[in-house]
Every structure is written in structure tokens, then in C-alpha cells.
């Protein structure tokens, strides 16, 4: 039983490690698209009207929601690694896990709402 539990814990850590790299790569691609949008698609000087042209299209809302969700996952996952570097107590880990999970979900929801509002203002 103990062996299985250790294996499961190792698998979880491995998945976390793999996802950190995968999300990093995906972020790199999304960032490239964002740079293209920011420098070549967005009209200068930057104005609300220019932003509305982009965010009135649902595809860009979906893209930016995915981009931000990935960034939040990558950032919070990295923060989790920093916070648990010295192998703290289980309670400490549990509290931080809840804080990061809840704030991550909240941030993604708020961002999605803001992007929809930005397109509809």
C-alpha cells in the first residue's frame, strides 16, 4: 500500500513537472501570437476602439482566455514549487493549495468577464 502511495505521489509530481514544461511551450506560442496582435493588428495609438475591434470577435476572447489560463497555471505552479521547496508541513501545503486553486479560478473567471465586457462596451 505504502509503495503504491509513494508511486502515486511520484506520478503526481511527474505530471506536475511535465505540465509545467508543456504549459511553458504553449505560452511561448501564445506569446508569439500576442506580439503579432499587439504590434501589427492593433491600431496606433492604442485606444479602446482599437481594442474593441479585436475583442468583438469571439475567437480572440477564446484565445486570450486560454492564454491567460495557461499563464495563471504556469505562474501558480511555479509559485507552488517555490513555496514547497523546503518540504513544509502538510497543513501549510494544503492551505496554499486551496489559496492558489481558488485565486486561479477567480482570476480566470474575472478575466473572461473583462474580455467579454471589453468587446461589448
Amino acid at each position: 500500500m505504502l509503495k503504491i502511495m509513494i508511486k502515486m505521489k511520484h506520478n503526481r509530481e511527474r505530471i506536475h513537472w511535465v505540465f509545467q514544461r508543456i504549459s511553458g511551450l504553449q505560452l511561448l506560442i501564445c506569446f508569439g501570437v500576442h506580439i503579432w496582435v499587439f504590434f501589427f493588428k492593433l491600431k496606433r495609438p492604442i485606444s479602446l476602439d482599437g481594442l474593441q475591434v479585436i475583442f468583438s470577435h469571439p475567437a480572440w476572447i477564446v484565445f486570450y482566455t486560454i492564454f491567460i489560463a495557461l499563464a495563471i497555471y504556469h505562474g501558480f505552479s511555479g509559485l507552488w514549487t517555490v513555496l514547497t521547496d523546503e518540504n513544509p508541513s502538510k497543513t501549510y501545503k494544503k492551505v496554499w493549495k486551496i489559496i492558489l486553486f481558488v485565486s486561479g479560478i477567480l482570476l480566470i473567471s474575472i478575466t473572461l468577464w473583462n474580455l467579454i465586457l471589453l468587446g461589448a462596451l
Binding site: 511561448l28 511555479g78 509559485l79 478575466t111 468577464w113
Partner: protein, 126 residues
């Protein structure tokens, strides 16, 4: 045996690899804080059109421009370091990590020069 704290561990092994590791973490935390500020700042859109337009004007101030440059440079370093970590992980290139770090530093310096040429064209063609 007394446990060596993480900071003492960093200090004891402060070489190129450790510098790269620490800078990745520091820039990561900086980017996380900047990202949270941007996302929370974007929520101004809930207060209406005028307030959002005021935010856009506020972001043109020199202080925010300097902050944006700092965040961009940190992001560039973080990306390069991330790519280096990926190369080491995927190709088991741990043995040449010093060489990779040096290549990364050279690319970083070149990129920063191009970045400032683009950001301040007046520096090259006054």
C-alpha cells in the same frame, strides 16, 4: 544533522548554474506579480468606458513605460532560461549546461540591444 536553509544553500553554490536557477525564480515571481497587476488593472473595464480610457492614458506615463520595459526584459530572460531548461530536459544536456547558459547570456544581450534600438529608434538615428 542541522538542515541547511535554502538561502544558505544558494549562497554556498553560487556559480553559473545556480545564478541561472535563481534568476529564473526571481524573474518568474516578478512576472507573476506584474501579471496579477495587469489582470486586476484590466478590471477597470467594469467601471465603464471613460475610466478605461483614463487607464490607457495613465499607462502612457513614463513611470509605467519604465516598468513595462523592466517586465519585458524579465520576460525575455525567463523565456530564454525556460528554453534552456527544456533543451536540458529533452536532450539530457545537463553536461553542457554552462555552455548553454553562456549562449543564452549572449543571445540575451543581443536581444536587449535590438529591443532598445526598436524601443528608442532615436538612439541609432538621432
Amino acid at each position: 544533522m542541522r538542515k541547511v536553509s535554502t538561502i544558505s544553500h544558494y549562497r554556498m553554490n553560487l556559480r553559473l548554474g545556480m545564478f541561472s536557477f535563481m534568476s529564473h525564480r526571481i524573474t518568474g515571481i516578478l512576472l507573476l506579480i506584474a501579471g496579477l497587476f495587469i489582470l486586476i488593472g484590466l478590471s477597470v473595464v467594469m467601471l465603464g468606458r471613460t475610466t478605461f480610457e483614463e487607464l490607457i492614458i495613465l499607462l502612457q506615463f513614463p513611470t509605467f513605460r519604465v516598468l513595462a520595459h523592466i517586465v519585458s526584459i524579465a520576460l525575455y530572460w525567463h523565456i530564454l532560461n525556460g528554453i534552456k531548461i527544456l533543451i536540458i530536459d529533452l536532450f539530457r544536456a545537463g553536461r553542457i549546461h554552462k555552455l548553454l547558459t553562456l549562449i543564452m547570456i549572449v543571445i540575451f544581450i543581443l536581444g536587449i540591444i535590438f529591443y532598445f534600438i526598436y524601443a528608442y529608434p532615436g538612439l541609432v538615428h538621432p
